[in-house]
């Protein structure tokens, strides 16, 4: 069985489940710089590498807050996935979390093939 990888902070957790091809974000992520977001970016890239030819889901349903540096990091990842164009990217959001209703759709504008489901 493939091992689940986790990044944990004071108020957040990002988890890659390679079996389910899912990266889940939980809590509140408001890191200071793109350098501090680097471990999360690397986890996303590793998840991408292990899901080539398949489907990768980014699950934000339990993420209460993400600051602009975080939105920038996720957007950068979507742009890099678009350039490689080697998998299907799905984004899961929570309609009870207002920023997700308002801003997750921007990821689909970066790459129209991204499938967004706000439930």
């Amino acid at each position: 069985m493939l091992a689940v990888e986790q990044i944990k902070g004071d108020e957040y957790m990002v988890e890659h489940d390679p079996g389910a091809h899912t990266v889940s974000f939980k809590g509140t992520i408001r890191l200071q710089t793109s350098d501090e977001y680097l471990p999360i970016m690397q986890l996303l890239q590793a998840a991408h590498a292990s899901a080539v030819g398949q489907r990768l889901s980014l699950d934000f349903r339990q993420l209460q807050f993400l600051n602009s540096s975080g939105i920038s990091t996720v957007s950068k990842f979507v742009i890099s996935a678009r350039k490689q164009d080697t998998l299907q990217l799905n984004v899961l959001g929570n309609r009870d979390i207002y920023w997700q209703q308002k801003s997750l759709g921007n990821l689909q504008k970066l790459w129209p093939k991204v499938q967004i489901e706000i439930i």
Binding site: T33, F65, I71, S72, Y98
Partner: protein, 191 residues
């Protein structure tokens, strides 16, 4: 003569009758030392301010939870900017808010070094004179290539996704230091 320059939706709040007025002063260094102080301050004031609206109002109005979420993003961005870009000998951050019947105005005042003023004004002009949607995606594509500090994505998200209007005012303090006031006008109406 006082050297004042203002941009965007700057409003003189001196004569405004507010339902509630809030004010808090912090040190820039404190915010920069423990980054979580930005988040703590913004969460406190967003919850405090959102209590002025009903849990659920008419459909045309933001619910309390939605408003709290907007304010938490807005105030966190503004406190983070003060911690990131504040400079000069004074090193203070002043938060003020005016709560009115159908809108809220938040104002953060801090200081920057004189050399930071021209690039900041250039940045503001670009923000105010371009289509926010087009600029947002252009910036993201540019950022994918280079890591830029202060890409303006926070402001652009707030303008584009939440309809927040910004005003900016600069006033010289000394020949090295400039006070910057950033105003954010938040409508309680659902976009």
């Amino acid at each position: 003569m006082i050297d004042l320059q203002q941009y965007g939706a700057w409003q003189d709040m001196a004569g405004v009758t507010a339902r509630s007025y809030q004010r808090m002063t912090l040190n820039t260094d404190d915010l920069a030392q423990f980054w979580r102080r930005c988040s703590l301050s913004s969460d406190f004031w967003s919850r405090y301010s959102a209590l002025f609206v009903p849990v659920t109002g008419p459909p045309s109005q933001l619910s309390r939870a939605a408003l709290e979420s907007v304010l938490a993003y807005l105030l966190n961005e503004l406190f983070e900017n003060c911690a990131k870009f504040g400079g000069g000998p004074l090193g203070s951050v002043c938060y003020q808010a005016w709560i009115q019947a159908d809108s809220m105005t938040f104002q953060l005042t801090n200081q920057i070094e004189l050399v930071q003023q021209a690039p900041f004004i250039h940045f503001i002009r670009e923000l105010l004179e371009n289509d926010p949607d087009e600029l947002y995606f252009r910036r993201l594509e540019e950022n994918a290539e280079v890591n830029a500090k202060g890409s303006g994505l926070g402001y652009l998200t707030l303008i584009k996704d939440y309809g927040i209007r910004f005003g900016f005012r600069f006033s010289a303090i000394s020949d090295q230091s400039v006070a910057v006031e950033v105003q954010a006008h938040v409508s309680m109406k659902e976009l």
